[in-house]
């Protein structure tokens, strides 16, 4: 099975510090195996497309998983795996674009909610173009839009700082808040994964 795996710069596991052996010329890298007899919770973990927004990091790799595959809620695991190739499309530009796309979604969702509540500030927020303007407009929002504005400002601020994962998370939390439950965040995460897959290719 081919899946995706986010790594820190230099093909380093972000949580374990493990240095993944990279592919050499023309072929995948060597197999990496979980310790013999390790429970599946200690296998190699990777992403399905729907998992991508939760695990963003500097590098994205296609990874081949082998052996029995275990599906978890936010990941997929296998006892051995090897890096196939680095996804060149996931670069600094893509990270910025994704963070901005999330912040724009936050702006639009908040403006819609404020309009429905009859808040006159909704128009100013909707018209704000560019992350700095969105952040400024959101910060100016008066109560009762203040809380919603806070989410939008946070999403825009994170996107401006290049922290796409934070922008995506804040936008998902806002979606849950506006929908009145976690299904709002789930739907937002689906949209985010679709954005990523469309940008990054199959």
């Amino acid at each position: 099975m081919i899946a995706w795996k986010f790594l820190s710069a230099g093909a380093i596991g972000p949580f374990t510090g493990f240095r993944w052996p990279r592919p050499d010329a023309g072929g995948p890298g060597p197999w990496v195996r979980a310790p013999e007899g390790a429970p599946w919770e200690r296998w190699v973990f990777a992403c399905r497309p729907r998992d991508l927004p939760f695990w963003l990091d500097e590098e994205l790799w296609r990874i081949e998983l082998d052996g029995p595959i275990r599906e978890a809620e936010f990941q997929v695991a296998a006892p051995r795996a090897r890096l196939v190739d680095k996804v060149a499309a996931w670069d600094a530009g893509a990270r910025l674009a994704f963070g901005e796309a999330c912040a724009l979604r936050a702006r639009d969702a908040a403006a819609r909610a404020l309009e429905e509540a009859g808040q006159p500030e909704a128009g100013r927020l909707r018209e704000a173009a560019g992350l700095a303007a969105i952040q400024a407009a959101a910060e100016r929002l008066a109560a009762p839009g203040g809380e919603i504005g806070g989410y939008v400002a946070d999403a825009a601020r994170a996107a401006r700082a290049g922290r796409a994962a934070t922008s995506a998370y804040v936008t998902a939390v806002l979606a849950a808040r506006l929908a009145g439950g976690p299904h709002g965040a789930d739907a937002e995460r689906v949209w985010q994964s679709e954005w990523l897959v469309a940008r990054l290719g199959p």
């Binding site: 919770e41 922290r163 998370y169």
Partner: protein, 89 residues
């Protein structure tokens, strides 16, 4: 009250769980929440990296690596701490 996103973890909860995470003692669900939080919180990520580095460095130390004067100071500090807590010496 149910949090808006059930999988979220606060920075405070992460700090409480960091030792168990380092020891590989967290159940998968908690480990997932912990590591998801690290993906979006630069502060906690830095904290965990500092912890890992501290464990790496201090894990290599032996009693002989501590200078006699430093050892004496440390023992004095520990004794004072124990006295302040009313613990047996």
């Amino acid at each position: 009250m149910r949090p808006p996103v059930p999988t979220e973890m606060s920075c405070r909860e992460l700090v409480e769980l960091v030792t168990a995470w380092h020891e590989g003692a967290l159940p998968l669900a908690d480990r997932t929440r912990f590591e998801m939080h690290l993906c979006l919180c630069t502060g906690c990520r830095g904290y965990v990296q500092q912890m890992r580095r501290t464990i790496e460095v201090t894990g290599r130390l032996t009693e002989e690596d501590v200078a006699p004067a430093a050892r004496k100071d440390l023992l004095r500090a520990f004794r004072q701490f124990a006295r302040s807590k009313g613990e047996p010496r």
